[in-house]
Symmetry: D2
Subunit: 331 residues, 4 copies
């Protein structure tokens, strides 16, 4: 059994902790969070110990591996502390909002041969995974265009926006990772546009955008489009289309039921989408953790690395630069 | 050019007359209807003569072929008059509401080698036709079950109900014909149920039903289900499913556009269906007439015969008997 | 914690045992099955005791409630033994293949105020449950027609067919229960047809059918159609349509992913359906067990009773009689 | 009756000529094309005169209005000749491949108060038209993002590519027009990327691209994405999504039938799309001509003007510039 410490008892920590607790191959040793109440409540519920000191949790002898779900600015310190002790890490994205710090951290991880997995959970969602598998199996020939639609159900509260790092580093970064992954090649050029259509004053205040588009291409000419919005009245919208030389794959949204409604006003109507990422990616979070534990138990390479985290952050930074300068950015 | 007389200037006569007038291979010679105004208006619009005497219209030397769109009780007389003069007939269904009279008429037509086509227009609708072609091409192997859904958008007015011959002879008869046609074998047993759910008093008054189901099977065991209702709030509902040993074919409704609407309440919602049969089967009426004229011009056999009309009426009569007796009826 | 004994370690027993073991409110005390190996393997995996004597398992002091997943002919004895000891029972359908025995058992259960829940798991499937809730909320007005499609992916092996009680008591019985439940009224008349289209020799041998249709109606005239087939090449097909006076609800199949494929041959193509009931109704089995335990813990009435089991069996028997006699059967 | 001359007897001229001939409010006076055979064949079939001299056709006293379907480089001369004689013009897009010439022509048309309609036929397609109407009716609140997918079924022959003006001026121009029209505001910035994925040698030869994306925004921040490809194995792909503050509209492709196919390999599969624009936009071409004739008969303003032609060409030119420079282009 792998002994695991989950750092962070917030929204994302709760999911990881529950998945660790349910695993047959791991033990949830400790939940650590400076907010003692949150840590205690979550640890209690799952039969683990609670601590307020995340570093001490890493240091425990009965802890073999770490899951980091704390605020972004704490990621690097916790990750490196664990790596230096030879412990494995599953770290929520992004590594850090600052590129230079991220780069230094990645170099340090690689110098130490650290085992760190970046938590791009969508790659483990079963439909995403099967799309990628179908592409690799040659089902649609050569990929030509990837179209990613990703819209949140509602604008996050101001304090979230304030610390989010902006739409491109917080929200688009997931789509940039999936874009890279489905293109099967690195993008070499990127252009982005950003708008303030939902709450212009709030976006102005934090120099952020609530509605965005990104366009990028690889050296061989494969193209990717991403569209994002912080608010879609019909729910959390997650769709992908991959168009290739011999076919196309489309991924539709998940919905709570398969019911279609007919009335005097509409036919074939389906319900609004699953509200948000915790519901939409429930299976993905579980499969992600299973993949992490599987890599630990069977000493496999990490399925997603810090390099992936770095590349996604580079693309997000390029998007920010493109919006500011009105120019395409070469990568 | 085939000279054609259209008898009846009502709803269905108008469609046939317009299609004749638009044909490259036929001339609309005359529109005849005892209602002089209706005949004149329609004839005028399409550049034809108007008459009030249907029999005289049949008798004209410049008329080679007839289209009968008059009330049901007049069908047999007009059909036989035309046949006796060696003129071809396209006759709206049913031949007559009375089985004995229909049988006698069919025998007379056959004795005279009359060329009469029964107007089961749905067989010419392009989706219906392609389903049948796919079945014949063996695409789904052996047919096992045919499921037909057929619901009207709204209850017809009382005077229509009064003279309709009842739901089975008026409405279900189309589905019975399509059932026979898609099964590819004659049904040998039929059971029907009828209910009065929309306007019980009206249905009671005419000993009729507004909601019905029919179940039938062929000698080899192929099965068919039909469901009907005189009123569907979402529009004119026409769907078919044919389930076979190696696959299945489903026919969806036509809708005015391909738009899907998303809002706070619904996703993927489509508009209500095309309102009624004139819109839904517009192409079918045109193709039906083209097939009639093609049979005339190229001296081909009629694509649908009086025997088809008789078989459908037998099935409708069996449905009525089944509802009255609560028993399966052997055919 | 409710102490539970699961009787039967076969396909269905395994599901129930795993769900009991995962419940927060119940303990899986013992798994009993005359096949010692099967019992031991399942009990082991879930941390419970294994027994070969089902009756002894019922009698244990640490067992409060029973789940019966043994062969049909053993249901009544086990059920009554438990009831006589004041223990609750969740019993797989049907109560018995024999109507008289079933009736006597139900009378005995009721005389003893026994707490027995019949395992019609589909009522707990989330889409089914939400359809029923929508109907009860008046979303589609008065129900007029219920159309149930239910087809298995492949013909069961001969020894299953031999002991199944026939298609109507084994397969259709689920749909008859759902039909009753969605109609919201008891059917008063039923007609069935049965065919031998997949393996006529096998069906002949056991006087059974592989393809069937049922048509029934309630006293107020609500109608229900069911179609069944033991083999559908595209997978386990479970669809329902409920048509009402102000709208319609349709339940589509579940599929493994939401991917749609486009190629030179097809567009919008989805994958074959989930293979069979264990996958399709996984959530339903879990929710069913949760409802059973919830009724036990909170002393609520059983959500599905032996009367429901009896009614479904009566309908199945009526279907058999209708096929044999070629007549509608009054209930 | 409006007397109309159709100039050009090629693919597009044939459509316009047939639609003129079928109109109740117009007479097809003459078909003119330097290819005498083509002109004669088409004129013959539709009962019109044939000429080889397009200018002479414009000059005829019995010609009130012109439809220009000749090669692009001839558009301006013919258009201006007609305008100078006070005759109305329906001109195929683009006005010209050269911006300066187009601008001069538009100025001349406006100076002369010429009545010229640009043939952006898609605006008249019923689904497009209803999407725009729904947007204008406020159904989805404020438009935020327009996503246009437009892919041809197969690469055009080399001589078409050679004279096409390139993918942006030939193919994207339609989508740029529709983008402007659905955004309801002028784009102020545009970025494009182009790739050579289908036939790199051919595209290299003509400095053209076979796969492209465009991203643009308006002053208020509304965004539009367009993706194009010269070859989609599944057919002519024409889809639009308009995402707004209170809802979303999606336009799906038209398909020949509504049949869905189920087999061992796929479920819910639909057939490949209508092959190409003549089939897909058949109704649009007819409605476009009706709108032109309606504007002539009722002396209404032209529904699409030379300014619309100019704007679309400016956007196409900006796309070309953006691909060449790798920069966003301000408009």
């Amino acid at each position: 059994m792998v002994g695991i410490a989950v750092l962070g008892a917030g929204r994302i920590g709760k999911i990881h902790a529950a998945n660790v607790a349910a695993s047959k191959f791991a033990t949830l040793v400790v939940v650590a969070d400076p907010f003692a109440d949150a840590a205690a409540r979550l640890a209690d519920e799952l039969g683990a110990e609670a601590m307020t000191d995340c570093e001490a949790a890493i240091d425990r002898a009965d802890v073999d591996a770490i899951v980091i779900g704390t605020p972004t600015h704490t990621h690097i310190n916790l990750m490196l502390r664990a790596v230096r002790q030879g412990k494995a890490v599953l770290c929520e994205k992004p590594i850090d909002l600052d590129m230079a710090k991220s780069l230094a951290a990645v170099e340090e991880v690689e110098r130490l041969n650290g085992r760190v997995m970046l938590a791009f959970n969508r790659r483990f969602e079963s439909t995403f995974a099967q799309m990628r598998a179908a592409i690799e199996a040659g089902e649609i020939g050569d990929v030509r265009q990837v179209i990613i639609t990703s819209r949140d159900p509602g604008l996050a509260p101001e304090d979230y926006i304030e610390h989010s790092g902006g739409i491109f580093r917080d929200m688009t970064i997931h789509d940039l990772d999936i874009g890279r992954w489905l293109l099967g090649e690195e993008p070499v050029e990127l252009t982005a546009i950003g708008s303030r259509l939902i709450d212009p004053a709030l976006m102005e205040k934090y120099d952020d955008y609530d509605t965005a588009m990104v366009q990028m291409q690889t050296a061989s000419g494969k193209q990717c489009h991403i569209n994002n919005c912080r608010q879609a009245v019909y729910g959390y919208d997650q769709r992908i289309e991959v168009f290739g030389s011999t076919g196309m794959l489309q991924m539709d949204n998940l919905r709570p039921t398969t019911i279609r409604r007919w009335s005097q006003e509409v036919t074939d109507a389906r319900e609004p989408l699953l509200n948000f990422f915790l519901e939409r990616y429930q299976q993905a979070y579980k499969s992600e953790l299973d993949a992490y534990i599987d890599a630990l138990v069977h000493k496999k390479p990490m399925p997603i690395t810090v390099q992936d985290g770095l590349k996604a952050l580079q693309l997000a930074d390029a998007a920010v630069e493109s919006v500011k300068t009105g120019r395409a950015v070469s990568l």
